[in-house]
Amino acid sequence: MTGHSRTPAPRLRPLGQPRSVAVRTHEHGDPTHVRLPGKPARGVEAIRERWRIDDEWWRQPISREYWVVVLDDGRHVTLYHDLLDDLWYAQRG
């Protein structure tokens, strides 16, 4: 008979989970202001990179538009716009 461990299996905790953020956008959809959780809103100085992910359409579709932006305090932040729920998230890349 198969012996089962009494201690529960340790679950892996994923790193880099996205956090919800408030973003104001330009009329073309580019972020212009970002308010990170617990921080005041900051203007976007520059957009360094931008890409899109469309994946796992066969399972639970993922459709994201990523931006790496430089805020006016010099911080580099990776943001994405979830195109399915139309919400913005910050994420450690």
Partner: protein, 483 residues
Amino acid sequence: MSQPHSRSHSVPAHQGRGWAPLQESTLRAASQEWASSSGKNAGTGWASGPGAGTVFVPERTRVSAGSRRALCLWLPTFELRLELMRSPELDSTSVALLSAGEHTRRTIWQVSERAHEHGVRPGQFVSQAVSLCPSLTLLEPDPAHYDAAVDAMLEILAEISPVLEPAGRGRVFLGTDGLDRLFGSPARQARLALRALFRIFPRPLVASTRAGMAPGKFGAWVAAAAARSGEPRIISEQELPAFLGSCPVSALPVDALVVQRLERLGVRTLDGLRRFPEPSLVAQFGEDGRNALAWATGRRIDPVRPWHRPKPIRVTMDFPNPVGLLATLHSGLDRLIERALSRPSRRGRSVTSARMGAQLEGGGSWFVEAVLKDPTSQRERIASPLRMKMEIAPPPRAVETLILEFTQFGAPSTQTGLFDRKDESGRSTAGRDMQQGEVPSTLRDAIKELKLRLGHSPLYRVVEIDPWSRIPERRHALLSFDP
């Protein structure tokens, strides 16, 4: 299929007290499966070879170890029936269970009656089967589900007799010596065992179970194969030779080629086999010939021996998202081996056999097993054969939970394992390069103290999950660090 599936393998109604072959292919496959299982595990399978736990006992003598009188419970195509219990909507369709994927071209393992009518047979390639029956539903095997059912069955039957010996998944022998005073006549004991199965299996599955009782395992097995579903067949000592005489040679748990050659020689029944002198059978078939004659005459009585399986060490790892990359699974395997080796229940024993499995995305499971060449407690030597097996037969779908079991153990290892390090002070460890995976004793002590205070280890380590994933949160994860 207009009939319920559970009746698909029932013996024709004309079957009386004599031998009536059920489905020749089913019986043959079951005998061969049994014969082959003995080679892998002489302790649990059919004792077919010399020194494999078989004893020759003159009639009416008692067996000191094990039970001479055996009750065999047999559920033909057990795994497929379990699948049909799980998905009753498939009961009226053509269904086939795939064999475990060790080859690039998968083959059919078990078939339903409807599929059988279309010409689908076990051992055929999937392409052949589908061309014969385009509406065929193919099912991936789910070994974890089947093993759980077997475990439940053994647990229930252990309440009737402590002498239990499984032989394959759908077949188990119960030693019934000494049970008469407890449960009454042999027929009543057999019915009791069948009734016990109702507690864990649905009625149609139990109704298809065959039960046979006779002296020795071979007699009991043949009696079960000749019995009607749900109606135990009891063969007494006196009846045994006559009963065996009418059995087909395909019931013998010997090499398939031996059976084929016997049939080509026109020997169809065990009675026909008995006419040959032993030296000529040995000259033709070697040890198999000698064994076949001993079984055919009823001289060979294999007692049911209590089955012992050491409690396995089992560790699992849940992935936050299903993983398909072999590299990630390899890394997960390494972590699991480390954790299993560090289990106190190992008590320093080395590992001789390990089983790796997975719960798959969308249901189902997958398993590979490796018997190690030498007992070891070194991670790499345990991981290497499992990795190789995984390369040959990878999980058919993405993995949600990875499972590792150490199933057989050897003598305590004299080698220094990863987690068997001698305690050293933090200072002396700090003075030299740390080996990968090594934990200084100071850190170990600190974790122990934190665990006492908080009830759990608050330390984590970062492990790679899928470092090249396009989705950042799937690249790395935290795993609790508790050396």
